[in-house]
Amino acid sequence: MPIGEPNHLLEEENLPLLDGFQEQYSVHLDKFEGPMDLLLHLIKKNELDIYDIPIAIITRQYLEFIKLMKYLNLEVAGDFLVMAATLLHIKSRQLLPLDEQEEVEEVELDPRAELVRRLLEYQQYREAGMLIGARALLGREVFVRSFPDPALAEAQNAEGPLEVSLFDLVDAFRVLLVRIPAEQFHDVAAAETLSIADCINEILSLLQERETVQFDELVSDDFTRERVIVTFLALLELCRLKLVRIFQGSEHGSIWFVPSVSRDPVSE
């Protein structure tokens, strides 16, 4: 844990600027969400006017902070370095002598303006985020009814308007392509043979855990013709033995199975 005991190490190094805030930082090091968060922290801590940031001071502290991060072997994200470059750029702009024309427009050309604008806006959203996060969360502080009405439970498969997001669609395609290797597209012969008896046992054990099983689920792990056919034959056999009942929500809806004798252990 590098964060735990940085103090004595830092003393050796004797970084003058770190003296003041090493204690606090060593605690919060991992908590900064990014360069903007860190800058706001530095401004607040030094009680600086955000509209009139002394760039020299803030840049120095910022760079010292990055040094500290490196010292503690924390990964310094590239984003922090981008901000460091921005600060140095602003500082160098301030050092450059202004020509006469520019002097007239000095106020408008304050090199800090853009940074301040970004900081203020970021601060606003950070606070908005905290307000949102402080709300009672569904599933954490607030709950809805989870016991379905008997009438509702029976109508689970009613086909109505669609409820699916674009991300679901893309993700389904991505998962599909990952799951099915290219060479399998035309190859339907499976390497090992699958017995109907194994399949029956699989389905029965699934039905002991749950009340209903969907056909699609049974074949979802292994999308081969053989698997589908064996699963289908297994279900026909289970049906013949009156161990399962088959339901279909609507004419072309998903096919569901329920154990015909609920909860009863299957006799061998």
Partner: protein
């Protein structure tokens, strides 16, 4: 005090996924007196049956449960019939293949998914998400499928070009690209602030 207990019991029963027995409730609310819990339960049941609302607190199979009044079942089932359906994974996969690979034949889709897609395809056609675009000029002249206008509407897309590509989704996982970070407009392209806009006096 007692009303607080009632409200707590109500919240427990309301969120439970099955009926809760009096014993179980007492167990959960260990800091309350068992008799008080039993009394509160009876009171609650009486209160809800007395107010004549849409649901009652009733004792079933040794437990307590909120249940809708049977009188209103004809209204309740109206909603159930028109309930939004969750898309099954197989429908979603089939739709994704058609969306990204269109125009495709049924055989194309089945090659990719490894299973028969006739039923799923038919249901997608019925939902009008998928349409028949014509016949392919190969032996057997199989039907070719593509997505419909309703598909775009359902997903809020302006056109098929607005469909996010796999690359774009995968790009979310990639390392940041710094070159995209906007250059701070410190120089000439700074816009002029309005009077008194920026407080650098």
């Amino acid at each position: 005090m007692s009303s607080d207990l009632s409200a707590i019991i109500e919240s427990l029963l309301f969120t439970a996924d099955s009926a809760l027995s009096t014993d179980r409730i007492c167990e959960l609310l260990y800091e309350f007196d068992k008799n008080a819990v039993t009394a509160a339960l009876a009171e609650l049941a009486e209160y809800h049956s007395g107010r004549g609302g849409g649901f009652d607190l009733i004792e079933v199979a040794g437990g307590w449960q909120f249940r809708s009044r049977p009188t209103f079942h004809s209204y309740i089932t109206r909603h159930i019939r028109a309930k939004a359906s969750k898309f099954s994974q197989s429908s979603l996969e089939t739709l994704a293949i058609i969306a990204y690979r269109q125009p495709v034949t049924r055989t194309d889709v089945e090659h990719l998914r490894g299973v028969d897609c006739g039923t799923v395809l038919k249901s997608l056609l019925e939902k009008k998400l998928v349409r028949i675009m014509g016949k392919k000029d190969i032996p057997g002249r199989p039907l070719i499928y593509g997505t419909s206008k309703e598909f775009l509407e359902t997903f809020g897309l302006k056109d098929l070009k607005s469909l996010p590509t796999l690359k774009e989704i995968q790009a979310l996982d990639e390392a940041p690209q710094y070159e995209r970070q906007e250059e701070l407009p410190l120089e000439q392209n700074m816009r002029k602030p309005l009077e008194g806009d920026l407080p650098f006096a």
